[in-house]
Structures are given as structure tokens and as C-alpha cells.
């Protein structure tokens, strides 16, 4: 029994790391631009399809596929930001919402046209391998996905902390006007931020492609999942997103085990409501509220 709980907890932590990568993509865009990417889940699914396509066509496994997906989605993010989204920064929320809903519809339409409505699964040998850690058997695909996601998150943190453009991004997030005053070009910062945000989503998508079947209609679930994590961790906070991701990963695992699996997300929404009402800055955020 204990072993089962341990397995669920470990599995939750592993998938939670990937969730955290998705959520960080959402939170970084919001933190810098105050724009909520309601099409985030669609971008994750795009990453999943890229992972699927790279594996089926070129036999590229998930980890390099995640890097390729990150690069592709980075380009898409920069492109969308420069062409369209930049005009919507600072517009009313409902306007931004409709813009991203339109993105979501277009991307879903393209997914349906290119890949069809059926679930696509990666038939890689890794899906059947396991690692044994201290008597605990863990799916190899999960461990690899989590490890890669963790490396990516750490790389992103290092990038934001130690590079010039990363510090510019943080400056713009802290104080947009002040950043402009000291000569940071907000347009460029926004473009890089949008690229990073989408790259996180894409990489995470490619990483989970051996775990979940890719399907266009998964997208809203990923979007809402990312929202829940980001709100619980505090909108705009990277550490909050990481802890929130792990928390939701574990909580989902246990909710599926202990209560009705169909109702596991009800628990997440209940938590979301409680956090929104009682601690809108998030459980771990503190810098900025409302």
C-alpha cells in the first residue's frame, strides 16, 4: 500500500515538473505583458504533434524533439507577437481574450486539417521501459520528460538571471515604464518573452507526446491546467509556477487514486476558487496582487 502511494507521489512529481514548464510559459507572458494566453493549451498540443511527427517521420526521440519544438514555437511566438499581439498589449481583457480564442480556433482548425480528429500516439520503445529506483518502478518516458523539463526550467531561470536580455525581461516585468526610461526596448523584450512562453509550451508538449495521445481537443484542458497552477503559485511568479505544478501533479494523482478519477479536476477547481478568494497573490507569490 505504501509502495502504491509512493509510486503515485513520484509519478505526480514527475508529471508535475512538465506541468510546471507549461505553466511557466503562461506566467512569463503574463508577468511581462499582462496578457493572458488563452491559446496556451493549443500551443502545447502543437508541441505534442511536433513530437509525434518527428518520431514517426525521422525517429527523433522526445528529448531532441522537445528542443526542436522549443525552437519552432519560439519562432511562432516572436512572429505572432510582432505581427499581431503587440497591438493588443494594454487593450481591454475581453479584446485580448477574443484574440487568443481566435488563435486557438485557427490552431485547432489546422491541427484537425493536418492530423485529423483521432488520437495520435507515439509508439516508441521508451514507452514500455521503466527505471527502478530503490525498489520503485518508474516509467522511463516520465522520468526523462521530467528531467528534461527541469533542466529547461533551470536554464530559463539562469537565462533570466545572468544574461542581459533576461535581465531586461525581468526589469520590464517589474516596472515597464522604468525599463523604457533606462533604454530597454519593450518591443524586443515582448517578442523574446512571447517566444520563450510558447517555447515552454511546445517543449512540454513534445516531452509528453510519448505519455499522452495527441489530440486537438486536449488543448482546453492544458490551458485550464496551466491557469490553475499559475494562479495557485501566483500569477507572474516562476517559483510559484514550479511549486504549483508539482503540487497539482501530485494532487491529481492522489485524487484519481482516492476519489472518483472523473472528479479529480473538480478538486483542482475547488482549490483554484479558494486561492482566488483567499490568496489572490497565490500561495507562494507575494510580490504582486490583483
Amino acid at each position: 500500500m505504501v509502495e502504491l502511494y509512493l509510486k503515485v507521489a513520484a509519478g505526480g512529481l514527475l508529471i508535475g515538473t512538465v506541468y510546471a514548464l507549461i505553466a511557466i510559459g503562461l506566467t512569463i507572458i503574463f508577468g511581462v505583458m499582462r496578457v493572458v494566453n488563452f491559446a496556451h493549451g493549443e500551443m502545447v498540443v502543437m508541441g505534442m504533434y511536433l513530437g509525434y511527427a518527428l518520431w514517426t517521420l525521422f525517429a527523433i526521440p522526445a528529448i531532441p524533439a522537445a528542443l526542436i519544438a522549443a525552437v519552432v514555437l519560439f519562432g511562432l511566438g516572436v512572429f505572432l507577437q510582432v505581427t499581431v499581439v503587440s497591438r493588443f498589449v494594454g487593450r481591454p481583457q475581453h479584446s485580448q481574450f477574443i484574440l487568443f480564442i481566435a488563435f486557438a480556433l485557427v490552431i485547432t482548425g489546422l491541427h484537425l486539417m493536418l492530423m485529423g480528429p483521432d488520437a495520435r500516439s507515439v509508439m516508441a520503445p521508451i514507452s514500455f521501459q521503466t527505471y527502478s529506483v530503490g525498489g520503485l518502478r518508474l516509467d522511463a518516458a516520465r522520468v526523462q520528460a521530467a528531467a528534461t523539463a527541469l533542466v529547461m526550467i533551470l536554464a530559463l531561470v539562469a537565462f533570466l538571471r545572468f544574461t542581459f536580455i533576461g535581465r531586461a525581461i525581468r526589469a520590464a516585468a517589474d516596472n515597464p515604464l522604468g525599463a523604457e526610461v533606462v533604454g530597454i526596448r519593450s518591443g524586443r523584450v515582448y517578442a523574446v518573452t512571447a517566444g520563450i512562453g510558447l517555447a515552454c509550451a511546445g517543449a512540454a508538449g513534445a516531452l509528453v507526446s510519448p505519455l499522452f495521445d495527441a489530440q486537438p481537443f486536449l488543448a482546453p484542458e492544458f490551458t485550464l491546467l496551466a491557469f490553475i497552477i499559475v494562479i495557485i503559485g501566483g500569477l507572474g511568479s516562476l517559483t510559484g509556477a514550479l511549486i504549483g505544478g508539482l503540487l497539482i501533479g501530485v494532487a491529481e494523482g492522489f485524487a484519481a487514486l482516492l476519489i472518483n478519477p472523473a472528479m479529480k479536476s473538480m478538486f483542482s477547481y475547488g482549490l483554484l476558487i479558494a486561492v482566488l478568494l483567499l490568496r489572490p497573490a497565490g500561495l507562494f507569490g507575494g510580490r504582486e496582487a490583483r
Binding site: A104, M113, L114, Y269, L277
Partner: protein
């Protein structure tokens, strides 16, 4: 916004145009075939529900992204009262509206009590809607995800008593709902309460400083909006004869509800209708095109691109643009 509306309908030509418009809408079932009646019924449904949502967003500035919740509450209350308790929808629909108003007021009370604002309020509405959707999906009494089905309309059905009937009947049902909704919205928005609401939308702190009791006025608008949406949900359930939590209460439905008023023109009385015409026609057209072309997903792509085009080039909505186009004409006379 409010003042412009008043001026326009205040003019005799505006009244003539409005009367002609409603006469034309009234005659639709006599002039057009069933397919068009079905499409226009859907237009009236989305126009009516869009009006309800617009009261909150357009007039008070509260963004709800979970209005499907109220649709679901109205639909399920009406259907369950009819099927399991033999109560006519004449009682069922108002009952649904009452329940929805209470749930809406409860959510609003909680949200405003803890001063949840902006994006956070929008996310709160999503959270409640999804919470209830999953609850309804796992509620065996109402069929869960499998759905809840109304029995076939009996032989001795009197449409005016049971509110159920054929395509024309439902067209007129939504026509009346839309008309009543329009009048109620217009009266509320142009009355004293409406002035307070616009004051809250423009600057809540200033309004409060002047003695506007913003808390209860905001709870009121959510309750009214929820009740109206629930009426639409009840009628919608009667029309479809079946209810599924995932379609009636899902995120997709919430998005559908708000597309029409935003595309038509936020905060205008007529925007939701114009937007509903646009949205439903584009949806039908793209679906047809996708089917003829035999390309799966093409309809979604076209729909998305059209919405993108509107939000890019007409961010304030179609109706205000039309009004502005009509302005020079008016000055000529």
C-alpha cells in the same frame, strides 16, 4: 454609449427602422424555409444570451467567462421540473432563472466580498463554471455525462401551455425572449440603475465616493444577467430535448456566448444581435464549406480567421462601425 443610444431611438426615423426590423423578424417563418428559420432561431438565442452577458460586461465592466454555467442551471432546472415533477416550463423557466440568479449572486457576493477584480474575476467565473460542469457530469440523477433526455412531445401537446412544439414555435419563443430581453435591458440601462452601472464601469472608486452603492449594484447585475441567461438555457433545453453538461455548460459554450456581443459591439443594446447574426452565419457558412470541401477542420479554421479579422480591424465591434457609417447619411437630410 448610453447617450448615443438614446438619441438614436429618440428620433422618429429610428423608431420606424426598429419597427420595420421587428416586423421583418416576426414574419421570418412565413417568408423563409425551415433551414433559415432554424438558423435565425439560433441567432435569436445567441442574441438574447449575449444581451444578458453584455449587461455585465458592456454596462458594468465585469468580465464573465463562465456564463454557460447559468445556461446549464436554467436548462437543467426547467428540464428536470418538467420531466420528473411534471411541472410546466411556465414554472420551470422562472424557477431556473431564480436558481441561477441566486447562484450568480452567490458567486458575485463571494468575489466582490474578497475584492476579486479584473482577470482574477474572469478566472473565478471560469473556475465556478467548470466546477459545476464536472459536478453535473458526475450527478447520476440528471444522467451525468450521458445526458438528460426529454420525452417526446405528447400527441395532445398545446405549444402555448407546454412551450414545446415545432420549429416555428421555437422561433417565436426566442423572438419573444429576445424582445423582452431587449426591453428589460434598455429600461435597466437607461434608468437610474443604468447610470450607476456606467459610473461603476468608468470609475468604481469615484462612483463610490459619490455615494453609489457599488457592491449591491454589482451583485444585482450578475443576478439579473444570470437569470436572463438561465431563461435562454431553459428554452434552449426545451428546443433540443437533450442536455449534456459538456456541451451546454462547457468552456466552448461560454466562449460562444460572449463572441456575439463582443463582435457586435460591447455596451450597445443592438450589438449582441448584430454579432449573433454574424457569428451564426459565419459558423453555418464555414460548416457548409468545410463539408462540401470534405476537409475536416476547415470550418474551425475559417471561423477562427474571421473572428481574428473582426477583432483586428473592428476592435470596437460591428454595430458601432455600422452606426458611424450611417452618420453622414443622417446629416445629409
Amino acid at each position: 454609449m448610453v447617450r448615443r443610444e438614446r438619441k438614436r431611438t429618440g428620433r422618429p426615423r429610428g423608431v420606424v427602422a426598429a419597427t420595420a426590423f421587428f416586423c421583418a423578424l416576426f414574419l421570418v417563418p412565413h417568408l423563409l424555409d425551415d433551414a433559415w428559420v432554424a438558423v435565425l432561431t439560433l441567432v435569436l438565442f445567441f442574441a438574447f444570451v449575449g444581451q444578458a452577458w453584455n449587461l455585465m460586461m458592456g454596462h458594468v465592466g465585469l468580465l464573465s467567462l463562465g456564463h454557460a454555467l447559468f445556461l446549464g442551471i436554467g436548462g437543467y432546472t426547467t428540464a428536470v421540473l418538467l420531466q420528473d415533477y411534471g411541472m410546466t416550463p411556465w414554472i420551470g423557466i422562472p424557477a431556473g432563472a431564480l436558481v441561477a440568479a441566486m447562484v450568480g449572486a452567490g458567486i458575485a457576493w463571494l468575489g466582490f466580498r474578497f475584492s476579486v477584480r479584473g482577470v482574477y474575476f474572469a478566472l473565478l467565473t471560469i473556475a465556478f463554471a467548470e466546477f459545476f460542469r464536472i459536478l453535473f457530469s458526475n450527478w447520476p440523477l440528471i444522467g451525468g455525462t450521458g445526458g438528460y433526455f426529454l420525452r417526446v412531445v405528447p400527441e395532445d401537446n398545446v405549444p402555448l401551455l407546454s412551450l414545446r412544439g415545432g420549429a416555428d414555435h421555437f422561433y417565436y419563443l426566442f423572438f419573444v425572449l429576445f424582445l423582452v430581453g431587449l426591453i428589460v435591458s434598455a429600461r435597466l440601462v437607461r434608468g437610474r440603475i443604468g447610470m450607476f452601472w456606467s459610473a461603476i464601469r468608468e470609475d468604481e472608486d469615484a462612483a463610490r465616493a459619490l455615494g453609489v452603492r457599488s457592491f449591491r449594484l454589482k451583485v444585482l447585475v450578475v443576478a439579473v444577467s444570470a437569470a436572463m441567461t438561465a431563461c435562454g438555457g431553459g428554452a434552449f433545453a426545451l428546443m433540443n430535448g437533450s442536455l449534456f453538461p459538456n456541451t451546454l455548460m462547457g468552456m466552448q459554450m461560454s466562449i460562444q456566448i460572449i463572441l456575439a456581443p463582443i463582435i457586435g459591439g460591447l455596451g450597445t443594446l443592438f450589438g449582441p444581435f448584430v454579432g449573433a447574426v454574424f457569428v451564426v452565419l459565419v459558423l453555418e457558412f464555414s460548416r457548409d464549406l468545410g463539408q462540401t470541401a470534405g476537409v475536416y477542420g476547415l470550418s474551425t479554421l475559417i471561423y477562427g480567421l474571421t473572428v481574428l479579422g473582426v477583432i483586428l480591424y473592428m476592435p470596437e465591434g460591428i454595430w458601432p462601425r455600422l452606426v458611424r457609417l450611417a452618420q453622414p447619411l443622417r446629416r445629409d437630410r
